[in-house]
Symmetry: D2
Subunit: 339 residues, 4 copies
């Protein structure tokens, strides 16, 4: 199974590294369109780089080693992971993947109808088998799915009000949000996006953007038929490999610091961290907040979507991915730091 990554930015570089270490998949390489720092990074990390054929000389004149053209890369791959910037995926599909009959995965920044399905490993892994076009949902939607799917399997959810405090920009974004301000977006797309994965759920969402870079801090107020106890919730999520339960954290910075301290690469935690001290029950509704590592949470989902496409079993795939990325250790150690 030969995979290539089209786009080597925040998601692309992480996914390419994960794939290059996967025991059952082979990374052909990744594409770059500008000869910048990320291109040099790929060289340092030994990720084979493919660039537009007309740009090869330009890259090489800057001392950047190139393994071939983007066309070469796609020709060598059985599946493309499209990790291009928001909105470019559709042009790639129509201009590149469809003409070459090449199956592809897209990211959550694309519209849902770019693909035959929207994917979250925990929620609908098996449905991706054999699909030619699959969309891995975005970071926040992934987090909501990881939490709501187990809850929905055990309890009757009547309605979810989602409330997002989004980071203004990723750490390396040159621009991204108003300084010293809060922005709001009523009826944000996140609610509908969850429904592309878990169709039956009633959910509404409101999003706020604030000037920091570490993580999205999201919350849900969930109305149940019968609200589960805190212990039942803890018991439920203890079985979820990609949900960490932190008892004593009180700022996003503490979680990032702990990830740095325990030696997590790039302080990427992959897991969604449920903030147990925010959990409260009022009548038949439960409120809970969670920490979403916006840069890394979709990395395991991309790897699993590849495996699902090729027909690997859900348990095997998620286990391999978790081990590959050290998610088990991350969950265990974060939970121990914030015991």
């Amino acid at each position: 199974m030969n995979i290539c990554v089209n786009g080597y930015g925040t998601i692309g570089k992480r996914v390419a590294e994960a794939l290059s270490a996967h025991p059952k998949l082979r990374l052909v390489g990744a594409s770059k369109y500008t000869p910048d720092q990320d291109a040099r990074l790929a060289n340092i990390k030994g990720i084979r780089l493919f660039v537009p054929s007309e740009s090869i000389k330009n890259f090489e004149s800057k001392g950047i080693a190139v393994s071939g053209s983007v066309d070469d890369m796609i020709a060598q791959a059985d599946l493309v992971i499209d990790a291009s910037s928001d909105g470019k995926g559709l042009a790639n599909k129509n201009g590149v993947y469809l003409p070459r009959s090449k199956p592809a995965l897209f990211q959550g920044g694309e519209s849902e109808d770019i693909a035959e399905m929207s994917f979250n490993a925990r929620s609908n892994f098996d449905a991706a088998k054999g699909k030619r076009y699959v969309r891995v949902v975005s970071c926040n939607t992934t987090a909501y799915c990881r939490l709501l799917k187990p809850l929905a399997e055990h309890y009757t959810i009547k309605h979810v009000d989602a409330f997002l405090i989004r980071r203004g920009a990723d750490p390396n974004d040159a621009k991204g949000s108003a300084l010293n301000a809060v922005e709001w977006k009523a009826k944000s797309h996140h609610a509908h996006d969850v429904q592309t994965v878990i169709p039956a759920i009633s959910i509404a969402s409101t999003a706020f953007k604030v000037p920091h870079t570490i993580a999205h801090i999201n919350s849900m107020s969930i109305q149940f038929d019968e609200v589960p106890s805190k212990d039942a919730i803890a018991e439920l999520f203890s079985k979820e490999s990609r949900v960490a339960m932190l008892n004593s954290a009180t700022t996003s910075a503490q979680i990032m610091e702990a990830a740095r301290d325990i030696g997590v690469k790039r302080y990427d935690t992959y897991a969604v961290s449920l903030l147990m001290n925010t959990l409260q029950v009022n009548g038949n509704s439960a409120f809970m907040s969670f920490f979403v590592p916006q840069e890394s949470i979709v990395v395991p989902e991309n790897v699993d979507a590849v495996c699902a496409h090729f027909g690997m079993g859900k348990q095997e795939s998620m286990k391999i991915t978790d081990d590959l990325l050290g998610i088990g250790r991350i969950k265990k150690e974060l939970e121990a730091v914030f015991a």
Copy 2:
């Protein structure tokens, strides 16, 4: 009616200015304990300054004009507005006001049992008549009361989930919150604080603090017996002089900019701004967000609490205060900018 203000910080300086322009009240002056920039400001603005008797020489040696001691100030006043920093109000009450049998107003940073009642002009004005010790509730609580009281008068509220995105610090605070981080506080005190004013209401709150300085951006999910329409909500709040309804604002910075542009002193808006584009209804619950100008929203409440204490009628007092501070114009012009 002679009033003095004990403490000349963020709230004290605003309240002192308001009182000095009040047609029915006389400001004795304000107290300062350190000879800093705020003391020089009081001189410039013509607010009479009173300092500890042992500090008079120190202030004067720095070129700051002093009108007497703090003891002098309190002796000349029929009522003290305590605007000291959080937690010092109790020491003032026990050490200064009680021994001198001097009635006093306290701020929302104090514990509720410092006073005989917690005050919000819209909600319980008349109850403050003749009370010796009254607490004006804090900025966020004031905003919740201004919105919930009219709603509760017209609809049956079953439960309120409050969600606060707090500013990390006031613009001039030297310290205040973690940089580049979100902090959270589950079961924040705000819910109970609302109940000190509107006892019957069922409410829970969760607070988040983010690194910006402009305003608190709060939200409520309100469960009704019968949810009002958007038009009904707009109709209801059109009658509230201290609630502005903004249709098109999408960031806190825009509202601050508009306040600057329309020539509002200090960009203080006094009103709570309901963000109409966040309003949505799901089943029997309504969601809405609002902008709370943390420095100024309690200023009219302090003025009204004084008038209530002395037995003035609610309508007369609120009208005088609104005119004094230009709140009618602010509401009208903000609503026009964000029509």
Copy 3:
């Protein structure tokens, strides 16, 4: 003398307001190209609004009153102040002003060769007389000129190293700079820009951009033949109406807070504030830092450039402008607060 303002953004709205109160000039109105909040603001403030003829209906359908087309506005004006966004001034010059033989002022975001001269009232007022195209230099350059011109008149300056800590964005900018980061720009354009006004000066500059919105905090290390004493510097700038000398300020937030407290509209201070506690002398060089209110500092310069164009005398013009904007009071009160 009929003046119009083409563009009603951060600079345009301030300049239009200043002109509308000028005793010797008449404001025709200002132009808007999108029917947004600033257009509504112009209506509220009574600034006559002109829009592209094809957009008039669109503005009016949104309830925004329009006084005519942009072409009408320009036809009625003897001089256009171009306050459009960076880089659009040249297109306006070639497409609109030149064909109509209409004199125009441009802002500092334009390249220097858009105009016959680059203007700073203190430095080269008289040279603007009768010039058809004049560029008012940018906020930082204006501040450097206001400080360096008086120094150069009294002392021999051998070299200036300029060091800028720029605000990341204006308070209302939706985007602007990296969050949680410092950006740098070696050999920034500011040094050369100063030379477009004061040609003889040797100056180099390096600029840093940081994530805050209040003001640019700039510094100079000036090598003199004979370095002036601190008293001599204070004496020199006491005569400059647009330079305030603050002794005790230690943060940009304090200065903004003081501007709010003394009742300055929009907390616009117009003056450059020299931070006297940063002043130090090492051998023959002097170091000093200063606060540049990026939104307002060029407003008086624009007004003066108009007057200079029409041949008014320098002293008369600057005096009228200073009085119009209250700069004398601002200087005096800021200096008193930070005595």
Copy 4:
């Protein structure tokens, strides 16, 4: 050689980890005074924890494993690295180390007279041999010494003007600096601090604090007798193992991102990064800016100070420390990313 670390915060935890991997030193353990997340972290990382004897039960009741009392730890050590918060080092010296005749290293937050010498490995390694009390200078001072010492060895430096843009707080600090503001400190202590290590140098410094968390971005304007060329400077620093030369970086965020991408633990870079695109020469002075990783830059200096105290040779010690921390790889890869 048994070493203990008294204090397990930002510096202490990094130094303890470095020592625990050192081939010639043995870490006894580290002390903690509150049973918080850092204590749990030490357990996870296998750092032996020592706490006040009266607190042992409290720590253990919270599930934190303790290896003994702080007194036990100090008794077992030949040398204490005091990594306590600013200003507590002196109390520790007088109350704990002097009575037990225990040699100790202190951090740069302490006053210079706490120790017999102020230490920077590159500048004065050998002088620490056998000294009982040594102070490792602070992060910024360390950076200045690493750059100025090689320059001073090859060129005659007449004067240095230092200009610091300090981060407002470390990533995990709960408080630290004014939000949305720039603070300034004229005649900051940094200039004198450099002179405690390189006594002959003429230097002045001014410090600014801005609201971000990543790194200090400092600059120097150096007056030489004869200014070196850019090539000569590059040649000079190519030999310095703890100075990286980055050609194309333009924001602090990019450097942090690169450190994350190349897999540097905690994104700690240890080296000072000279920003080569800021280098410019004006007459006989050179201007250059540099990136100071405030959390990690003193870690190698602490390790070397221990080795210097025990009489190890400078080259051997610095080589072991560099290898231990991977500084050679970090320098090489950062330079490659920003080639």
